[in-house]
Amino acid sequence: MSKLTDLNLAQARDGLASKAFSATELTQAHIERVEASDKLNAYVLKTPEKAMDMAKASDVKFADGTAGPLEGLPIGVKDLFCTKGIRTTASSKILGEFIPPYESTVTQNLWTDGAVLLGKLNNDEFAMGSSNETSSFGPVNNPYQGANGENLVPGGSSGGSSAAVAARLGVAATATDTGGSIRQPAAFTGTVGLKPTYGRCSRWGVVAFASSLDQAGPITQTVRDAAIMLGSMASFDSRDTTSVERDVPNYEAALTGNIKGLRVGIPKEYRVDNMPSEIEALWQQGIDWLKEAGAEIVDVSLPHTKYALPAYYIIAPAEASSNLARYDGVRYGARQAGVDIDDMYSNTRAAGFGDEVKRRIMVGTYALSAGYYDAYYIKALQVRRLIADDFTQAYEKCDVLLTPTTPSAAFAVGKDVEDPLEMYLNDVFTVTANLAGLPGLSVPAGLDANGLPLGLQLVGKAFGEEELLRVGEVLETAAGFTTRPKEWWSA
């Protein structure tokens, strides 16, 4: 038998069910691997004792015959999900040592189904970033290194989640995606990232960044694992007013491998200037794979694509400036003294927020301020509708869209830190799905010339996750991505 930490989620689940090993053995193996992973900086809080307690409880359930769908499976949780009694920081200094008195709905669903918590995963501060470099805990290193052994970013904002899954520090991880924060890090680390339809997973108990865009989802080793995770993470929740009351299907059952006659749209606007030829080639390869599997390829147009990032960089900061108003040093977090209450607020926020978060709050405040509200904020919301309408029209001709996930492979730590706009361009292919509220899936599909993973993205119709995962699995099988990073971090 291979090492227990080599198993993907479905294999681990099946091994537990057949009693090939116990939940405590599986969890112990992962705890040891997490302990030896500090050079990656993926975990900002390890919870080995909690994990062992949960694993022991899982073994009792296996013995009783009451095991849940994720029973005994050790996972990591992005530090944006509130976990009752366990420090949650959003990787921001302003939350200090915040201990939530409640559990997020998504994580509660996972625990109810039997999953085991290994710890909390690093991310960009308040999920604002594309490289995990804005975290107050410092950057995460991608398990994949550059050609000369230099450290690369794991993508962001769910960089701890993507690095952890790529390095096998958990069978899966939770993540969140506001503009690409699940799919871009998945593409950078050779993992699978699924952003569900807006409203599919509850936002209750997830630290808010931009509420009309935020959506939780999994990062996993395989498409099947993503289907299994989503089946537990998704639910209707009356505590989230935008949660959609809709049954959760059996996503795993949707993986039939049959996509004959499926219409795959190729949006011409995604052929951007200066796209590396290997990404262009990979995209063509993806088209060929799906065609060979029986899909019909259709050219489509999403004419407002070019305006997606500008609209996003008004809407997301505007919502963030409102959401982050709560961090005022009154009810939780690290307070800084002041001569009066306004001074206390200003000092607390000056000391507690990092540069990127401050920048976005300032942009959002500006866009919402008197005299600019119509010119920026309302204008961006109108453009957002045009972008959503583009998809509606494209889906009259096709069932899913195929695009690259990112315009490049992972880049070096420190490369774009000084240039926020350059960093924003990472999300050029992913942000449209957030604006339109559609599900998107990144599948590892190939390597660049330096041996770094590249991803292809599929975008589906609203609540079309079953179809999306079905095509994703076909793409995954055709690509046959089996590369693993060299384990430099445990040396």
Partner: protein
Amino acid sequence: MSVDEKTVRRIATLARIGLSEAEVPALAKELNAIIGFVEQLSEVDTTGVKPFTSPVENKMRRREDVVNDGGYAQDVLANAPEKDDEYFAVPKVVD
């Protein structure tokens, strides 16, 4: 439209983010770059387009008007930087 240093100070005040004078010029430059980038939106004809506020057009759900939660002030206060009995404590607001 460009963001001058006076505007940066005004936005910082609105956002309650303390800024030192030394931080203002660099921030003005960064905000200008971002605002310059989003200015592209003005090219788009949006006449008559209804603003898109949420991907989900849910009506607000109603529930029975009954107490269904609460009664744990100490849990709510557990993370407070300063508290007094069952209250959050803040610096003096009114003289």
